[in-house]
Symmetry: C2
Subunit: 580 residues, 2 copies
Amino acid sequence: MSLTLISPDAVKCAEYIFSRLYSLGIRSVFGVPGDYNLRLLDFVEPAGLHWVGNCNELNAAYAADGYSRINGISALITTFGVGELSAVNGIAGAYAEEAPIVHIVGTPARSLQDRRVFMHHTLATGDYRQFAAVHQQITAAQVNLVDPQTAPDQIDWVLQEALFHQRPVYIEVPDDMVDALVSTDNMKKKPVLSVPHVPEAQHEAAIVERVLGRLNAAKRPAILLDGETRGMRILDLVEELSKRTMWPTWTTIFGKGLIDESMYNVYGIFQGKYAPESWNEYFQTADLILHFGPHLSDTNSFGFSAVPRENVTIAISQHTVSVDGVLFRDLPPRRVMSKILSSLQPLKLGAQGPSHHPPPTVDLDKSLPLTQKHFYHYINSIFNQGDIILAETGTAAHGSRQFKLPPKSRLLTAVTWLSIGYMVPAALGAALAQREILGCSDNRKDGAPGKERVVLFVGDGSLQMTVQEISTMMKEGLNITIIILNNNGYTIERAIHGRKQRYNDIASWNNAHILPMLGQQSSNLESFPQARTWGELEAIIQSGKLTLGTGVGIIEVFFDQEDCEGSLREMLNEQIRKGN
Amino acid sequence: MSLTLISPDAVKCAEYIFSRLYSLGIRSVFGVPGDYNLRLLDFVEPAGLHWVGNCNELNAAYAADGYSRINGISALITTFGVGELSAVNGIAGAYAEEAPIVHIVGTPARSLQDRRVFMHHTLATGDYRQFAAVHQQITAAQVNLVDPQTAPDQIDWVLQEALFHQRPVYIEVPDDMVDALVSTDNMKKKPVLSVPHVPEAQHEAAIVERVLGRLNAAKRPAILLDGETRGMRILDLVEELSKRTMWPTWTTIFGKGLIDESMYNVYGIFQGKYAPESWNEYFQTADLILHFGPHLSDTNSFGFSAVPRENVTIAISQHTVSVDGVLFRDLPPRRVMSKILSSLQPLKLGAQGPSHHPPPTVDLDKSLPLTQKHFYHYINSIFNQGDIILAETGTAAHGSRQFKLPPKSRLLTAVTWLSIGYMVPAALGAALAQREILGCSDNRKDGAPGKERVVLFVGDGSLQMTVQEISTMMKEGLNITIIILNNNGYTIERAIHGRKQRYNDIASWNNAHILPMLGQQSSNLESFPQARTWGELEAIIQSGKLTLGTGVGIIEVFFDQEDCEGSLREMLNEQIRKGN
């Protein structure tokens, strides 16, 4: 290999990295400083990126995940060993649920690594590859920048992998590589990285034809929009298809919020065995189910009961198209979808969908305690167009399936990873992305309009995991409404097993002190809004405490510790029957 | 292999595990409940073990580490994926600094794993081995209990590995293995696991002879006690050696608190290039340095300047004895040390050590602000015999090197892993172990007397990482005094790099709200003890707020954000010189 000459317009390696992140649309970078990343951090803000210092690295990873789901991609910087390993669970969740995060780790200088010196933040084994081996399990691609000659290509490759696989990637930057000069040739050739162009495969035309044939022949069709569609860059085309065909359209839990729910033919989440009978009947007798971005975990498919029958399904994912169970590869989804839409015959609007099932209107006695059964319909009234709503794993996530989302709003909720503690930092990340998108039109990803506002529903147990990150929300001056669902411990676990067991209890907190402790200037503990009854909740809503533009606000609502619905209720009842 | 018959006195697999943990002296188990460990948790308390529900899994791992360092071994239970991966950084720290933790993970039922079902808490790849692969990097041994026939041997083996290597180990328990019956044969044969007996190696007598020869001939000897001695079960013998020889004895940072510092010949930490000149001169001209439990990281050896010269050193570690640079293996340290002590000639008390360097007595003007330079000597007066003192990574750890520890007290401080956030949960774990040891004489490990009390020094930045675990301290009714060193951000990082950079700032908290928020019943925000001057600190000490028996107490002391000493001061000055 010949030596690459440093061109006069070379840049420092750190400048190259952050310039690439900027061109991908990243504006905020999450993380925590540490001994081996300080010099790297010097280059963040000069690159036009905003540094978000988090309280700890797991929170930072969760926040980067939330940012990624709204912005499309995110970045996280940690330090070798102690920092990166704290982030592991957050990165793994982003892997499981397809949120690309560029995880950049500042590592000891190459000379220390080569000599296997027993530095701090190592396991004192002399092996500097152990933490990369950990990240190999939970990221789509990894690079270790040990040579300025190859660094630019390595960086571009790993970023492209993140975009293509929609998964986290891992970049190690030794301390002495931060200001090593690297060539800017790549930056001149490809100003912004994007999904690479793929020549049309020989079978592409035939597959598109086959899919079109099935579409045009369908008598009882349905669309099922799942969450992996988010990274496939076809959400606009799926919505167009749904609008043009008016075919009955459902989402999965993961797909909820990815299509305008105000469209008449959009029904909400298809809940499999828990769905209304008419929906289930339609689904079971459909002769075509167009399934976009399938993500077939137990929790995203109601114990697999919402998985469509293979022999009537055309499933389009990032890497494959499956027609009635036969898999085809190398068909870029956006090109396939564009061809389908351009060739689709004017369809008879004959696909008569099942009836809608709006929640029954219930008169709630103001003096009665709040219940999970009615809470989500009730609180739904506070949502505005463009809101980002997050519902943490637990009863909140179960309840959020009932939300009717306003246009342009988004929902982040429990899908497959279900790591409690995730949603508080994810709300921070989502809110930052939302603010950037609304504030900067040339950076806008999905045209979400309206004022910025994030609404977070979180249980009392989950809250305790990552509560400190609320201070970062305040530091950043974000508008986030936090609704704490206090049901005295891990109710979801009580439903599964150990209904009366002490291990499902948590420490008793006084949540009125959260904001005063974490940064609120003027604290009035007495005015902390709490609701145990419908009347109290109504008063809080009417007081305007849940409206936007007021920074970080918390309200606390109380439920009985065994109050749960749907599948959770079934499990709990089963335990009661057994005398547990 | 023939089928093992289930004997009539078989026990459930979970009962076997917890019975073994009990027999190892474990009384408290840390962790968080999750979908795949609930059935396992049913067996914790019936086995006589106390379940400590933590706020999150990283905190639980840190707490298990602190418990292990006092008790000798500890246990942690997490759930598959989300739980175990949150604990990774804590487990890695225990690996680096030799604290055995038995990490038990509840995993999905075998049938789900065999069929590669896309369950929640997986990466939805069908691969159930990815998290075990992560733990392979950070634990000494791993077992997956998938067969009742082999489970007892697997469990015994992995526990023995934990004890022998003094490192964490990893046990996967599939949900359907929890109540699978296993044989109790092992329990009858070996009621308590211990270090296995090793027959005497052929070279053992010769090596002992050689070591004795060097000891008897030494004219200018020194003892250097390092931290890995803790797990070698020879602390009593090292102290005996030091007492009988009266040889000048130093510790490393890691070894501090492992020998009675009230002995005249015990000097404290040998700080290498930062040591008093007379100490350094003695060390550099010594003709014998007995080095116990070497742990040669940069941070534990003052940038390697405190590492003794190989050609005069006899180093005794768990797995090797090194004589003047020549390594010998397979010499169990306790047997070797016993032989040495029993054959040691009455020594001339001729080893004239260097002079002591007690801290100069300084009159501190009450109106002047607190300084790192004098704070640690000043606060030293509050320590009692038997206290466990923890000093978190940062200026607190640096300052704690100056402490003069009372007899029977212990110090946990930054050694090699240096993960900020560690010390708050570690204090919880250490306090639980201390209470058990004091309360239960037949479980006493080192005879520590006196009332229970833990004192924690933690910086404002570190505190934000894991603050919620203070609620578990309160839930457990422990006596822990927390001294928050508030220097407005990451001062240790400012010293290293980025003195004025925003990334070394943290969110501004009002720490008066911590206890009221996390569980204190009666809160009086006005009486929250804070000190900015020596006079204010004196008043707090005189008020008795730092005495024991009063549950969890917090005081906050303030320092200038650039106030640091020793090596940190040197680094900061270097930055100032450069104009940073």
